[in-house]
Symmetry: C2
Subunit: 153 residues, 2 copies
């Protein structure tokens, strides 16, 4: 075995770096979103917003994307509806289902989260410079990670 000693170190460093970076991003984004006035949300809600804003989501569908049970998703949606971020509208073709849609407040939060993400990433971008940063994003994209899908936080 002992052949890939350096690659192993590199791979370990890679996962540690990605995990550390993700933690820092989550924290940084969440802090800014809270500071922007959306203090009644937690990081985990981000993925739900992403899916709902994409359109065509039902509660069961959302549950699948978040990797949780329907009840957990229903509870989360309930909370977001109570807080005015999401509304349930009748589904055009399925009388059982309810189509989820962001309210204006929900869209405002989404915009704030996007701005927060850009701000949180800005120092990294400046650290590497535009070219190297662009290359970094390109290489990360090339890895084709299959899923925000699962929150895991």
């Amino acid at each position: 075995m002992s052949e890939p000693a350096v690659p192993a170190q590199e791979s370990l460093a890679f996962s540690a770096l990605v995990l550390a970076l993700a933690g820092e991003l989550v924290q940084g984004i969440h802090d800014r979103v809270v500071a922007a006035g959306f203090a009644d949300l937690r990081p985990a809600h981000g993925f739900a917003f992403a899916r709902i804003s994409h359109g065509g989501a039902t509660t069961a569908e959302l549950a699948g994307h978040l990797g949780v049970t329907k009840q957990a998703a229903a509870q989360l949606v309930d909370e977001l509806v109570r807080k005015g971020y999401v509304e349930r509208t009748p589904h055009p073709t399925d009388a059982r289902a309810r189509l989820l849609r962001l309210t204006e407040h929900g869209w405002a939060c989404t915009r704030a989260a996007d701005a927060a993400a850009v701000e949180a990433v800005a120092p990294f971008r400046e650290l590497l410079g535009p070219e190297r940063f662009a290359a970094l994003v390109r290489d990360l994209a090339a890895l084709g990670p299959k899923g925000p899908i699962r929150p895991t936080w």
Copy 2:
């Protein structure tokens, strides 16, 4: 404002990619660790192992690193002790504190987790090739993310 339109897109893509990648890594590593026979652990334990294996950790210290309360950390340590991964030893200079140490079983798990991380990263490494992957790791390291420290999952 509208000046940084493309950078904004790029920054958004960056955070989305890092988060997606982190989720995939967590899942991939955890699955392999479970498959290696350590089924009684959850992803969140990883950070605790990392800190304890580093040496010199007490429960309160661990709590700080994990970003949770002392009680939560104490509970987690209790569980790891019960399951045979960690042992509490007397602290050499502080009669209040207990020094945390991995057992042989704990070290075995750490080795399995490292191997799992390397395996989980392998496809990415092959996708980019050794040179581009090394450059990627170098650039990520240059960002100097300050903390595994906080689990957030």
